[in-house]
Symmetry: C2
Subunit: 388 residues, 2 copies
């Protein structure tokens, strides 16, 4: 062998050895030298992505060559989805800042922002400053958002007035109802969402309280989960007087959609006669859009929508999603993300387990965790899943 070749082999061997030792022992070395970071650095920081002109709603804060990046780390086909108004900008920035710090700066999952009117330039710029991921901004088609023409407005108004009298939150709001119907049946139909299977729903002004040292998306994928939650409260009965009756009717009409080993036991304490009002709080969701796009949920949503209950009552997307997950998924396909410290006013899930809390460097107060407070359904979930 030539002398230069022997030098070369020795040097390469030493480099490789050092590289792997550092990658195994030092998180930040691993970050610094991952293919995606080196690619980012070589390409420089720019908001002008190739093809940006043909995709005016697409902002790249850094120009990620995603095929190159994917060589380095396995990622799910997943996105964050955030419904926000322009006036929610400060709260949205806070939420994105926190999920980036606690999770996404290591993963660079993309974001889809949705609004019933165009996002301002200021909104796009301030959001793009918070993340190196792809950020896309979409406008929701009117027919996915506004109260349909066939809704009897007089009848709808009568119920809104009644809820206002009862002091029910958002009782008089039409736009809140638009949002609930949109989140129930349309967010996963948006053009920008079509390329993704998995999503993590985030709202403005939420808090992520712990480092998330695993990838919830690939966890879902690897463990055959379809729906993940952190908080499960009781619904206000006044907002859904006829919902349970419709669910019962649907189940009779479509027994073929009802899963074996489903979670309906979580929804009723008397074998299905009454709804116990338990639901997953859908302002946090990590879930599989194939579930919402499948025939069972399509039939369910269309049936519910045809009753007008989103406007004649005040059905939330939380009970609608939750009842669907409980009917159409196996209970093992629904996952409680204990590790994810999460707050949405007025409730917080803070991991109670000392090891989880410490490992996550959580900044929440365990004594204020909602899990086993009076309004929480967690104890029902524990019963269903055999945790107690």
């Amino acid at each position: 062998m030539h002398l230069w070749a022997r030098y070369l082999i020795l040097v390469l061997g030493l480099f490789t050895g050092l590289h792997y030792v550092l990658r195994l022992t030092q998180d930040s070395y691993s970050q610094a030298t991952s293919f995606e970071n080196i690619a980012l650095h070589l390409k420089g920081s720019t908001k002008e992505a190739p093809g940006a002109q043909s995709e005016p709603e697409t902002y790249h804060h850094l120009n990620v060559n995603s095929s190159f990046a994917l060589l380095a780390k396995r990622r799910a086909n997943a996105t964050f989805v955030i419904l926000a108004r322009n006036s929610d900008l400060n709260g949205t920035v806070q939420s994105v800042y926190q999920i980036e710090e606690r999770f996404n700066k290591k993963h660079r999952y993309p974001y889809v922002f949705l609004n019933d009117e165009p996002f301002t330039e200021e909104f796009k710029q301030r959001i793009s400053l918070m993340t190196s991921s792809l950020t896309e901004f979409g406008v929701i088609p009117s027919q996915h958002w506004n109260q349909p023409d066939w809704i009897d407005e007089e009848k709808a108004k009568k119920f809104r007035d009644k809820l206002v009298e009862q002091d029910i939150i958002y009782g008089g709001s039409v736009s809140y109802r638009n949002m609930c119907r949109f989140n129930s049946g349309f967010f996963f139909k948006q053009e920008l969402m079509q390329k993704y299977r998995w999503y993590w729903r985030i709202e403005p002004d939420v808090n992520f309280h712990c480092d998330i040292d695993f990838d919830p998306f690939t966890f879902m994928e690897d463990n055959n989960k379809v729906y993940g939650f952190t908080i499960t409260p009781y619904e206000f009965e006044a907002t859904i007087p006829s919902l349970w009756g419709h669910v019962q009717d649907f189940m009779k009409q479509h027994p073929e959609y009802i899963a074996q080993d489903n979670a309906m036991g979580f929804m009723s304490n008397d074998g299905g006669e009454h709804y116990n009002l338990c639901h997953f709080w859908s302002n946090f969701e990590i879930a599989d859009m194939e579930f919402w796009r499948a025939p069972a949920y399509s039939a369910f949503f269309n049936y519910l929508d045809s009753t007008g209950g989103f406007y004649y009552e005040r059905w939330g997307d939380a009970p609608v999603h939750s009842l669907a997950a409980a009917m159409f998924a196996k209970k093992d396909e629904i996952h409680f993300f204990n590790e994810i410290g999460y707050g949405h006013h007025p409730f917080t899930h803070c991991p109670r387990d000392e090891n989880v809390y410490t490992k996550g460097r959580c900044n929440c107060d365990r004594q204020q965790s909602f899990d086993y407070h009076g309004y929480s359904c967690m104890i029902h979930w524990d019963k269903l899943t055999g945790r107690v």
Copy 2:
């Protein structure tokens, strides 16, 4: 030269070259391979510091060999100082989490926590979870905190009642007055503070809105600064009716302490006849304790304290510190930290300059920045320092 020696020189040269290229180009590589991080990794993570038994109030989350660490990065002789009650735990955790994320995880400056009663174990543990720095917890001696015996309580109560009638914030609170007097004259005298020269004062429930990509302590040191601020509002006149008169008296009695080129022009719009109520908002301070420990400030504080005005009126530590800085320091020794996005309810300083805002990845709203709002004195500061 032997063959092995030639191999060795080549390999060392290549390693060194690669190392410096990566350090110069990759922040996170630089972090991963700094002496302090490698030292930390080699020593492992433990809360049991050598000598912990003899220092029961000292918590090390990670066992930093500080002399080894100092090889790698120059640090000032500086500490954070946080006055908090046990009931402020959640807000204190939030503040520490944010300063760590935005600044201190790269620097590991220590913390001193002060309280008028012992901190709970829960307080110490939750704080220590937020930082790898040294954290020390001290109890303030009663004579540094409580209303002195020689204060005429009847007279003090009369004024408190008057401020309550006028709806002045904390008007009726004795503990607020204790705190203001403590922050004016005693925090830098605490035992745990003795080993430090520089401090950064932080309160529970404050926000740091931007990455702080420089070291404000070494900046102060290198640029001969003694006092740094971010927000400068007007004081409530009702809380300090006699303060300006005392300041004028003190200046007459002690002309030897008054600095040339001082900042007193910031404090009066009529050449010193009246106080314009401008002051630096002292819930944020980065400053030099040698300034407070020097004869000028000692004489000033002792004089003010002897009048009883901390209790007979409701003097804040903010105007007291500010007036002292304006008298005893040169105006060039007082620094406005524009880059440090900072919020303390109800005011926020958010950098207005586009480049500073972007570089800092700030999550505040520039339109809500306090700098040039009606209650801000910034315009006076700009005039004094020739920025406008």
